[in-house]
Amino acid sequence: MGKFYDEEMETLPADKLRALQSERLVKQVKRVWDNVPYYRKKMEAKGVTPDDIKGIEDLHKLPFMTKDDLRDAYPYGLLACDRKDVVRIHSTSGTTGKRVVAFYTQNDIDLWDNCCARALTAAGADEGDIVQVSYGYGLFTGGMGLHGGSTKLGCMTVPISSGNTERQIQFMTDLEASILCCTPSYAAYLAESINEQGMRDKIKLKAGIFGAEAWTEEMRADIEKKLGIKAYDIYGLTELSGPGVAYECEAQKGMHINEDHFIAEIINPKTQEVIPDNEKGELVFTSLTKEAFPLLRYRTKDLCVLNREKCSCGRTFVRMHKPMGRSDDMLIIRGVNVFPSQIETVLLKEGMPPNYQIIVDRVNNTDTFDINVEMTEDMFSDRMSKISEKEGHLMAALKTMLGIQAKVHLVAPKTIERSEGKAVRVIDKRKLY
C-alpha cells in the first residue's frame, strides 16, 4: 500500500463512493438547472427535470455535452456562478478556432489543487520534495495545475515553465529537483539532453508526472531508463479542470479517476449508449463539484476502457486506460489540441482554397507538424520574395489560430492525396495508441 494524499476519499468503499456521487450529482443537476439557462433548455429538450435525477442510476437520462455546446455557449453561456466569484480562467483551442474558456472559483482551484496533490503523492512525492514544473504556464492548464498541487502538498515548487533546456537542466541539478512535471515528449527531450551532456549522475530526480499528450509504454521505458526515474501518467482536460482528473499510482496500470469529483462513463460514440466496463468506447465525464463551469456528461472524444478491478495500491477509484484514440479528428500535437477544420478556416480566410494535408510525426520524441498547402495562381509569383512573404503571412495566421508553429510546404495543385475523391487531410505517422 502506498501513500495517499486523501486516504479517506481515495480508498472509499464502492457503495459509499456511489452514495457520495449520487448526492453530489443531484445537487449539481439542480444547480445548473437553476443557474444556467443553456442547461435548462437542453434538459427541457430531452424532457428531463432535476426531479428525474434521484441518483447516479439516473445519470443516463441527462443530455450529453460536447465541444459544440461549449462553442455555442461561448464565452459566458455555461457559467454557473456569479462572475465576481470567478478567480481564474484557462483556455484551450476549439474546433473552429473559437477557444474553449473554462472558469474557476477559488473552491474549484482548491479542489483541482487537491486532485493534483493526490497525483503527486501517488507518484511518491511529499512535502520534502522539490518539484520542477516544466509544463507551460498560462492559459494552458498544465503548468498552473501541477504548480497548485505541488504547492498544496507543501513541496518546494519550481515554476520554470516549458522551454530553455539549458536552464531546465541547471535548475534540476543545482536545486536537486526530485520530481519533474512536463509533457512526455519534453521529458524525453530533456532526458536526451541530460545524457548527451553527461549530466546523468548530477540529477537527483526520482519520479516524473507526464501528461497532456499521448505516449507509449516504450516511451515510458525509455524515459525511465535515461533519467533513472519512475514515470507516471496523468490525465485531464481543461473543460473539467486540467491535469489531475485521473492519475497513475505506483502500480502504473491505468489512471485512477478522482471519482469523488468526476463520474466517468464509457459510451458507444455512434449509438451514444452506455457500454460496460472493460469495453472500449468514448469517455464521458460529469463534474460533480465544479462551481463555475460544471459539465454534465461531457463527451471527451477520447476512446478508452475503464477497469474496476481492485488495484494493488489500495485506491478504490476506477482506473482508466491511457486514451486509445479519438472518436473525432482532433490531433494533439506537442500537447496542443489541433482540429483540421481550423486549418481550413485559416486558408479560407486567407483567400486560399482549402486544399491541405497535415503530416504529423515524432522525431527524437518531439512532434513534427507539417502542413502541405496546394499552390494557387494568386499566391504564386515569379519573385521568391513575394511567395515567401505570403507563405510567412499564412504561417503566422496558422500560428495565431492553432497556438503552435506548423511548417508550411507549398505543393503543386491537385497533388494532395485523395482517397476515393476525398482528400486525405491527416497523415499521423506517430504510433501512439
Binding site: 499552390m375 495562381e377 515569379d382 521568391m384 503543386a412 491537385k414
Partner: protein
Amino acid sequence: MAVKQISVFIENRVGGLAEVTDALGSANINIRALSISETSDFGILRLIVDDVNKAAKVMREGGFICQVTDVLAVAGEDKPGSIAKIISALTKGNVDMEYAYAFFAKNEDLAYMIVRVDDEEMDRAVRYLKDNGIQVVDEEDVMNL
C-alpha cells in the same frame, strides 16, 4: 520596352521540371532562356520563350501554375566586362534587381541579360540604361533571336 517572361511553379521532386519542359516541347514552344530559383520545397522556373501566350495556355491546360510578367532584357557585347558594365549601370542608377540571368543568342556577338525590377521601376530603369549607353531589347527583338 519590356519582355514577357513566363514563370512556372515546380515542386522539388524528381521529374517536376521534366513535366514542364516536356509539355512545352510537345506544344512546339521554343525556350530562349531559362533560370530556376528554388527552396527546399519548390522551385520557380522562369522562361523566355518564342510564344509566351501559347506557353501560358499550355501550362494552364496542363494544370501547372504560371504567371506572365514583364522583365527587362538588355544586350551587351559577348566579351569580358560587358555584363559587369550592365550591372554597374543598374547599381549606379539605384535600380533594385530582384533577380537576373543571362543567355546567348546563336549567330550573334551579343550576350543578353534578363533583369527583374519592380514594375513601377521599369520605365525609369529603361530610361536610365539607355542614357548610359546600354542596349535595351524589346519583345520583338527577343522573338527574332
